[in-house]
Symmetry: C2
């Protein structure tokens, strides 16, 4: 695709941006463990990223009015781009999650280097900020990133939990970071897990 | 889903936001005419929305540094939500595009009314701003919304064009709004169409 773009009569920087955007589109081909709410197929990481960004727009109004929403949205839109190379590793595969960290680091460096240097450097920094979870923007974004699949699992009667025989205790452990990152979202996670447990969607 | 959410021990406003977000997720089930770059299936409107937002992040840096990116991104994230009710109508179906306007208006009013009143009203206003294409934010967003499928059609060797026997003249006419909305993106559209025509992806 790069070679085709090379023939376009536009500035070199813009060609690099278009090349990056075409590569990024491959995120639509990365499939996650949770299915669409109609059960028809797995959710793509691109769809997950869109839904996270929409969740951030809607939830920030009351839960995080002080964060810089533009920065949060940009983080959420780019946070999974490394999966174009590294693939999606579900949070339930704890060992593979640890193993993938270095692979994702390299993928991020390579991917953002496709952009003009200053822009690519800025987005790589934002990707690291999300991963480090130290700023308010990153912590809110990380909490939403953890809450979204929980909401979908719950709304789709726990199909992904059942396949993996996930217990309420396991899920509570994995979701504890939601309250750590953004305390006001903790009760939502607790409520969804308690309800799923009561309905037998999460094992004892 | 609403009735399940009613049991959650969280504030009523937050329950309405979660209900809205679950309904919004149905946008993943709305399929567009262009396929993923690997040809495996049609792109969903949720994926399209994510890719538009990412394009806006990347292109705004040089092409639209003065726009309020947070507003642009919010517009792009919500602009197709009406398709949850109204479905996607390709730009090539010009009569149906005219017929669908009133249906989309009603769908927008109903959809955003699921949110707490002030928030829903604000997002409905932003949706109208996008449609009206009068502010800089809306005009840049609208240009990107038109450019994205063109870029994908071009990069996937014009499969969607071939199915509909689209000519270069037709495509040039439909894409003229890109230059009207955001002049600096006009040459990209022209370049892609000229190249596609030269390669026989667009008919004479």
């Amino acid at each position: 695709m790069t070679s085709l773009l090379d023939g376009l009569p536009v500035a070199a920087a813009l060609r690099r941006q278009l090349d990056f955007l075409l590569t990024a589109h491959l995120l639509t081909g990365v499939t996650r463990v949770n299915r669409l709410l109609d059960g028809s197929r797995g959710e793509s990481s691109a769809e997950h990223s869109w839904h996270l960004a929409l969740m951030a727009v809607v939830l920030a109004a009351d839960e995080a009015p002080g964060v810089d929403l533009g920065r949060v949205l940009t983080m959420l839109l780019i946070h999974d781009l490394v999966e174009v190379e590294a693939g999606d590793v579900p949070i339930y595969d704890e060992q593979r999650r640890l193993d993938i960290v270095a692979v994702e680091e390299q993928a991020a460096a390579r991917l953002f280097a496709r952009l003009p240097a200053a822009q690519g450097g800025g987005l790589l920094e934002l990707w690291h900020e999300f991963e480090a979870a130290e700023t308010d923007e990153a912590r809110f974004a990380r909490a939403v990133d953890r809450l979204q699949p929980l909401l979908l699992h719950w709304a789709s009667d726990g199909a992904a939990w059942a396949e993996r025989r996930i217990t309420a205790t396991q899920e509570r452990g994995l979701m504890a970071v939601i309250e750590q990152f953004w305390p006001s979202l903790g009760p939502v996670a607790d409520g969804l897990i308690a309800d799923a447990h009561r309905r037998g969607l999460l094992a004892d």
